[in-house]
Symmetry: C2
Subunit: 292 residues, 2 copies
């Protein structure tokens, strides 16, 4: 797996090492993200979510639709529609229309591009599932931002996703012995997974105690464990799709960081769990931003 991927080659030509590109990208992206989360008007992050959903859909189309243009274009539009509805007009009638519209239009589009027929079943499934998966997950991230202290909730979901990755990496290197799930992700170990969970609980406690007053800390611990575990599993899920369809990187959207979906695969799941937890366990109200 050490041969250079296509995504890496253009960067080498520009003469920048991968690490430098990563650092440069982070130096631009992190302040921009913090500005959107904490300083900008609420609709800015929501609109960013719709754009990110489009980018994620392009990558998913590459993995599941063989990049076929018409199908991919439809997947991108449907994914943006899901995120936009979830973020801006999450009414019962809009959501139901979306659900019905998704399963009616997805199969119809396949009739326009049925070849190769042996792939049509896979493609029809993902034309329906993809908008729900990418659009719904990014919609969940953006909906967390609608909560009071929304920026902090998004940061918490990110900490639960990447904290798990990072804690897992170091714990795995230090103590890793027993393989977690060799078929899908040969490097992951059980010790790493436990280290990852320890890290998310620590991150959760810091963020919860400092920046989420009013949320009992035992709730933060339960949420961190739940979201951390589901996030680790979510990380494996994108790997399953990639291995199953023979794609190596989900894309090369973020310079030096690979694809967007590669980056946010765990976040998609931690954000979903965090959103469900804030709604059903904590009963926190969300305020939908007005665009116009």
């Amino acid at each position: 797996m050490s041969d250079p991927t296509e995504a890496n080659e253009p960067k080498k030509e520009r003469g920048l090492s991968n690490l430098a590109v990563r650092l440069l990208t982070a130096a631009v992206a992190i302040p921009a993200l913090l500005w959107m989360l904490f300083l900008a008007p609420a609709w800015v992050f929501s609109c960013f979510g719709v754009v990110a959903a489009a980018a994620g859909a392009v990558e998913l189309a590459g993995m599941t639709l063989g990049g076929e243009r018409l199908l991919s274009g439809w997947l991108v539009l449907a994914t943006m529609a899901v995120t936009a509805v979830v973020v801006f007009t999450p009414s019962a009638e809009a959501l139901l229309t979306l659900m019905v519209g998704l399963f009616v239009t997805g199969p119809l589009v396949i009739l326009l591009r049925p070849a190769p027929l042996e792939k049509a079943g896979l493609r029809m499934g993902w034309l329906i599932a993809g908008p729900l998966y990418v659009g719904g997950a990014i919609g969940a991230i953006a909906t967390l931002h609608h909560l009071e202290r929304g920026g902090t909730w998004v940061v918490l979901a990110m900490a639960l996703a990447w904290g798990s990755d990072t804690g897992g990496y170091f714990a795995g290197r230090a103590f890793g012995k027993h393989k977690l799930y060799e078929l899908i992700s040969p490097k992951k170990t059980i010790e790493g997974a436990i280290g990852g969970l320890a890290a998310v609980v620590a991150f959760g406690l810091v963020i919860g105690s400092q920046w989420l007053p009013g949320v009992p800390l035992w709730h933060v611990v339960v949420l961190s464990l739940l979201a951390g575990a589901v996030g680790q599993a979510g990380d494996l899920c994108v790997s399953v799709v990639k291995r199953s369809t023979g794609v190596k990187d989900s894309g090369f959207l973020i310079p030096g960081h690979g694809g967007l979906l590669d980056r946010i695969d765990a976040l998609m799941f931690t954000a979903a769990v965090t959103l469900l937890y804030t709604h059903w366990a904590l009963r926190l109200p969300a305020t939908v931003p007005h665009l116009f």
Copy 2:
């Protein structure tokens, strides 16, 4: 395609011709259906919808999950959950929870049964898409029943689905020359499709003028053409999945009539279009039945 399918063989052993089985089944099913649609308490048809959704999910699992037990079981439960939420508690929070729950749990279940890995991408897609497709479509049929004169609306959606089939069959036999979509359905002709549309408009006008007072007839014509066309396409969609996955019949649930999905493939789409039309174009209110 004239060799007997597995589904036909047990019937022959019982010594009944296929036609006799079909007629007997219809003689039981049609009165039962009419009773549920027009005479029984509202929740009976809604509950029937949830049960039918489970049966449809079993068939879809056979087509897309290779019948794998754990995955199929999860698909059936998730599909029933979608229909139940759409039918009994279509609130914004329930629908959003459903959407988020679907894309989180589907991929997680795949991690428990990833083999064969080359099928995992297809299966993960359908674990998310299937509940939306079968559960949402049957939910749409059951939701039509929530409208004032709900029984008549369901009969209209059925007439638009099966009228198109029947009209298309006779028009195709009489005038059929030009193939409609040879790759997927070699027997269908353009003349048949036009005849099918003529038949649904005729059926729509009869039902609309006699039993749906207050709905302008031009709306009935527009709805009939829209739903008729989408229904014909929906008919082709199940064929695409079957041909793509190498399955011939979706199931053998209805004696003499093949699988449930085979029977209702067009209805799933005409009901969805009819529901969206009654909501967005006619603005008809729906009343959710109370179970308890």
